[in-house]
Symmetry: C2
Subunit: 214 residues, 2 copies
């Protein structure tokens, strides 16, 4: 019983995901207003009732598009903030995850930033809540790193937004035809955040002194 | 003769700026499609011919809104890259300027990111050109800092986009009622970029060694 329930859920999720993928592409190309539920159905070669079985209306599909990536990253940040490993290791893994999620969800995010005005109020509130959850968790992680003496951050809320901004912005410049793979971009972001927030390690100083010319 | 020409230009600029300010507010609130030239005129308490004297049509007004901040920042970056002072001083001043421009032009930028699909093709090309100018100039400045041994940056193009992203993102979170002034936010951004790209100075190492407990 349990097994088939899980399978049923997975299939439902897969169908929802397909609808959201198609919708986000069409919203991206033609705008929310310029895309009908019929066009989404036709793009997927399914019937309109198939779509309406999964979503109430077009605004509900938009809410699904906008909510997907933001819910994932809010959860990632909360997992990182609540975790028990080294604080830098958790931040590093969050920055990596965030960069990869942004690359994967770049069309969803582009639609979100363009069309959020068309969201139903309840969805708008949910998205704001995702955002607050994300900001709170990332700030908590930065605070923990400062308290542990590992991070040097003059203003936590500006640093939170800087990290959010530099990673989110990837949606705007990433091209699949570019010279770096998503994994390479994520590693570069990890390196930049490392330089930005971590205190230089005493080892690095030792190394520099040993090789110092004078 | 020259003097009155300058005055005339300044007045023309002022009028254009007023139209763009009103238009960006209305585009922001009601969308590009939901705003008529009549509504812009009425908001400013001027006639429609007054607007049409300065702009060809509504899409031309949108091009003005989208182009204003991007042209300014492209120019700032080119000035910084071509300057002759210390490379960090020029990057510092660019990051400060960029942060302040983003805060000042946040409604313009929000409209730009939402409505760029409605831009005439020629305006779209101009904006892409501004963006390329900006990216090229900032990359050049980072390269100069690396060559001077002052910056440590593993990948210049990712670092360029990271700096662009963290500063541009301010448009999304800045609130005039927040606890930091625009100047304070700009200084925080300068500090974060400094940590991100500059090599620790030898002085700092010296200080740490002198006060080292062992």
């Amino acid at each position: 019983m349990k097994k088939s329930d899980t399978l049923r859920d997975e299939i439902k999720d897969l169908k929802r995901k397909r609808i959201l993928d198609a919708a986000s592409e069409l919203f991206f190309q033609h705008g929310f207003k310029g895309t009908s539920v019929e066009a989404i159905a036709s793009h997927l070669q399914v019937t309109k009732p198939f779509i309406y079985y999964h979503f109430e209306n077009k605004a509900d599909i938009l809410a699904g598009v906008c909510g997907r990536t933001t819910a994932f990253v809010a959860q990632s940040a909360e997992v990182a903030a609540a975790g028990s490993g080294g604080v830098w290791q958790r931040l590093e893994s969050l920055v990596r995850d965030l960069s990869l999620r942004v690359i994967e969800g770049r069309v969803y995010l582009a639609v979100y930033f363009r069309e959020e005005n068309h969201l139903p109020k309840s969805a708008f509130r949910d998205l704001s809540r995702n955002r607050t959850r994300f900001d709170t968790a990332l700030s908590k992680l930065l605070r923990e790193g400062i308290d542990a003496g590992e991070f040097h951050i003059p203003n936590i809320s500006v640093a939170t937004q800087a990290i959010t901004g530099m990673t989110t912005w990837i949606f705007n410049w990433y091209r699949p035809t570019g010279s770096l793979t998503p994994d390479q971009i994520a590693e570069e972001m990890v390196g930049l955040v490392s330089s930005m927030v971590r205190r230089p390690s005493p080892d690095a100083d030792g190394g520099r002194i040993l090789t110092s010319p004078s």
